[in-house]
């Protein structure tokens, strides 16, 4: 880490960029994180900073100050959204001082492979697996990843054992996305202050991930439930379903939650108006939220063990 204080992490949607950063940051005493392309939609930053306490998420406009202030002992991970062109990056850091990691999703990459010394067949595979999603710069495909170290998350022994692909991607499938008609879309639904009914969310998530609102490649979202929990839901086409993760945040039991939540989907022919409508239909009204929260607070007051683990619990004598 010492020699590479800044690590750029790129890869196709769903390849495991955030998870890889989570694993690296967990090994460090402290770490910083910046997601380029997330704008004001910090799903990954929320996940990383709650699940990896030694990690601090920073915003784009805080980067220069962070680099000046930092004594270079804190590793900084910069995640590049799949829609960000690495060639267009303008960072206040000399590129040669950065470690550049390109995550690729392929069982053939059984070990870390330097892109510059890759074989011809690997080169093609790499091109198809990354180009498919790097839609903004198809004409520069042979040069843009020069200097990047290619890593397959699947290869690392302790990595992703729970998330192994259910089927390997074929390059033919990946290259489908190169046609203009199937340009990948990103659609974001901001849900801050909204509380969802759990059963409704389950129905919606099933529909969403089974193609009811368009052809999905990726979906991830943070959702607030009425019992105060914030859930992270994750979907990647071709991978086994992942259990919802309860984020290590205090339970919110005092009105509409004043913290980030939202849904991001990546895919084709996405019907965003119907996604928004259905999400709206999953939300509880303020009166219902107040009613359930009051019930939960009352039951916490009656049982000390529960309220201890809850930040907003009523005081117990």
């Amino acid at each position: 880490m010492q020699s590479f204080p800044v690590t750029l992490v790129a890869g196709a949607p769903g390849v495991g960029k955030t998870t890889w950063i989570y694993q690296q940051a967990s090994l460090a005493q402290s770490a910083a994180y910046l997601n380029l392309g997330a704008e004001n939609f910090p799903i990954d930053a929320t996940y990383l900073s709650t699940e990896c306490p030694q990690l601090t998420a920073i915003a784009v406009d805080e980067l220069s100050e962070f680099l000046q202030r930092s004594d270079q002992s804190i590793p900084l991970f910069i995640e590049l959204g799949f829609h960000i062109d690495p060639a267009s990056l303008e960072l206040p850091i000399a590129p040669e001082t950065c470690r550049k990691i390109l995550l690729v999703q392929s069982p053939q990459f059984s070990q870390s492979t330097d892109v510059e010394s890759r074989s011809e067949s690997q080169s093609q595979l790499l091109t198809s697996s990354t180009k498919s999603s790097e839609l903004l710069h198809q004409d520069q495909q042979n040069d843009e990843w020069t200097g990047w170290t290619c890593i397959s998350p699947v290869a690392s022994p302790e990595d992703f054992l729970d998330n192994l692909p259910t089927k390997a991607y074929e390059s033919s499938r990946l290259s489908i996305d190169l046609t203009p008609e199937t340009t990948l879309q990103i659609r974001r639904s901001y849900l801050q202050g909204k509380v969802l009914d759990g059963n409704s969310l389950e129905t919606f998530w099933h529909e969403l991930t089974h193609g009811a609102y368009g052809e999905l490649q990726r979906a991830k979202g943070i959702f607030e439930l009425v019992d105060g929990r914030a859930l992270l839901l994750n979907y990647r086409a071709g991978y086994a379903a992942v259990e919802p993760l309860e984020l290590s945040l205090p339970r919110w039991l005092d009105g509409p939650p004043d913290r980030f939540s939202g849904l991001e989907v990546v895919g084709t022919q996405l019907d965003q108006p119907r996604i928004v409508q259905t999400l709206t239909d999953c939300c509880l009204e303020d009166a219902a939220i107040a009613y359930y929260q009051a019930q939960i607070r009352a039951s916490q007051a009656a049982s000390p063990e529960v309220s201890q683990s809850v930040s907003q619990g009523a005081t117990v004598s």
């Binding site: 009914d197 059963n199 409704s200 389950e202 129905t203 919606f204 529909e207 089974h210 009811a212 119907r274 259905t278 239909d281 999953c282 939300c283 509880l284």
Partner: protein, 275 residues
């Protein structure tokens, strides 16, 4: 005698037609219908007209009742907020398009029907809205059949066909009482002898919930006392296209094509709203 029993057509005319043809091919002597003629599907008037013209004995389903009485069920009738909103949309649409004669036909449907030792209801002998789930407590299940005073209780409403045999024999009833130390003590242990009874759920013609789009119904042969669950393919794409064309939510068509019921059962199936 061969008796065909069907339920939960939900305005799906294509499915009804296919099931009636299959019943014909099976040489049924009589047909019973357990209600939910309307709701969700695009052809409520045509379905009611067909049932009426064929003079099929029909009991009133939960949707039929709601169309007549108005939707005044509490939100606990629905498994989720989303299901409730979709259910309301379907109800309001149906309420707008049905003809006066359709409404009066639904209003005059009986709550239950009898034929010898057979009883026909939509939900349970207590209420159109009560779900008799296949795995419900044996004692509760037996109580429902006894309440009907029948040997075989035919029901629908869950949209999942099943046959449940409640063996003749002894039902043990244990009543436990909590003590101040938190332990429980059995205060009564009674045994009740009951005859063999059956609950037969006819599934759903127009809104199946078994993971395939096919319609289901049951055939009961009184001579050999045999119950057969029938699954019938039909042109569900036609119904899906009509759902979209009529302006009903597109998700209804998406779920129908996958054999996913639009609104799943409530968390507490035996819960009945205070109306």
């Amino acid at each position: 005698m061969k008796i065909a029993v069907m339920s939960c057509i939900h305005g799906n005319y294509e499915a009804l037609n296919a099931v009636l043809s299959d019943i014909d091919a099976q040489n049924a002597d009589k047909i019973y219908c357990l209600g939910d003629l309307v709701g969700y599907g695009p052809h409520p008037n045509a379905v009611v007209e067909m049932i009426r013209s064929l003079d099929i004995p029909t009991c009133q389903g939960c949707w039929d009742e709601d169309i007549v009485e108005g939707l005044n069920a509490c939100e606990c009738s629905y498994p989720s907020v989303l299901a409730e909103k979709r259910g309301r949309l379907a109800h309001e649409w149906t309420n707008q398009v049905i003809h006066p004669e359709t409404r009066s036909f639904l209003a005059n449907l009986p709550f239950s029907l009898r034929e010898d030792n057979l009883c026909f209801v939509h939900g349970s002998p207590h209420n159109q809205h009560e779900y008799l789930m296949p795995g419900m407590d044996a004692f509760v299940a037996m109580e429902r059949v006894m309440a009907a005073g029948a040997d075989i209780l035919f029901c629908g409403h869950t949209h999942i066909p099943y046959v449940r045999t409640l063996d003749s024999g002894q039902l043990h009833i244990k009543v436990q009482m909590a003590q101040p130390n938190g332990q429980s003590q059995i205060v009564t242990d009674r045994a009740v002898t009951t005859p063999l009874k059956r609950i037969v759920n006819a599934g759903s013609v127009g809104e199946p919930r078994h993971g395939r789009p096919n319609a289901t119904y049951v055939m009961y042969d009184t001579n050999c006392d045999r119950i057969t669950l029938r699954e019938v393919e039909y042109n569900y794409q036609k119904t899906c296209a009509d759902i979209i064309e009529k302006g009903l939510p597109a998700i209804f068509a998406w779920r129908l094509a996958r054999g996913l019921e639009f609104a799943e059962r409530a968390d507490d199936p035996t819960h009945i709203c205070e109306r």
